[in-house]
Symmetry: C2
Subunit: 113 residues, 2 copies
């Protein structure tokens, strides 16, 4: 099952914030993790994620730091690690609650609740 873009929309930001709540991550890593953790159901595209990360950094919900990859792993490559800010944590709480209420409302209307 391939999810329509219209469903995807709006789910990227809360998921990014949720990922970063646990530990700093870089974009490419997030793509892989999301694809893996959902068994390929959610298939993030780089062209979606990178601009989203820039928006989040622009509004101060996350912050970025360039880090060289460890020698044994991917020598010579630069990774842009993102961390969630305090403001981002508050936004995560808001978005998580919003999602919970929204999905409940939709379930109700689809007689799934």
């Amino acid at each position: 099952m391939d999810f329509s873009n219209d469903l995807i929309r709006g789910s990227v930001v809360p998921i990014v914030l949720s990922l970063l709540k646990d530990k700093p991550m870089y974009g490419y890593e997030m793509v892989k993790v999301v694809n893996a953790r959902t068994g390929g159901k959610l298939e993030w595209k780089e062209g979606t994620l990178y601009p989203a990360l820039h928006r989040l950094a622009g509004t101060g919900l996350i912050s970025a730091k360039w880090v060289a990859a460890p020698k044994g792993e991917a020598p010579g490559r630069k990774r842009k690690y993102y961390s969630i800010t305090r403001k981002g944590l508050r936004e995560l709480a808001r978005r998580t609650e919003e999602w919970a209420q929204f999905s409940l409302a939709v379930d109700t209307m689809l007689s799934l609740g």
Copy 2:
């Protein structure tokens, strides 16, 4: 809590199809019913619904029929009643399953599952 447009997006079509599965309805009525059934959480706008109905009719998922309102209720007014088609019923099944899987995937990523 006001849901962001990005979440709303994609939920309109399955909900319309689900409503029409039970009985034919007219647009204005759908707005009221959705607002009521979700306790005001989902607040549909006419400017959203009407174009959506036209799209659904255009792709043959629903069909329309003009009906005069009953004399005792709203005399003189015309209502455009929509019914779901057989094609629409199949699409409803698809969309419902899609939503179920999608919301599960998001719950997983937000540690709500």
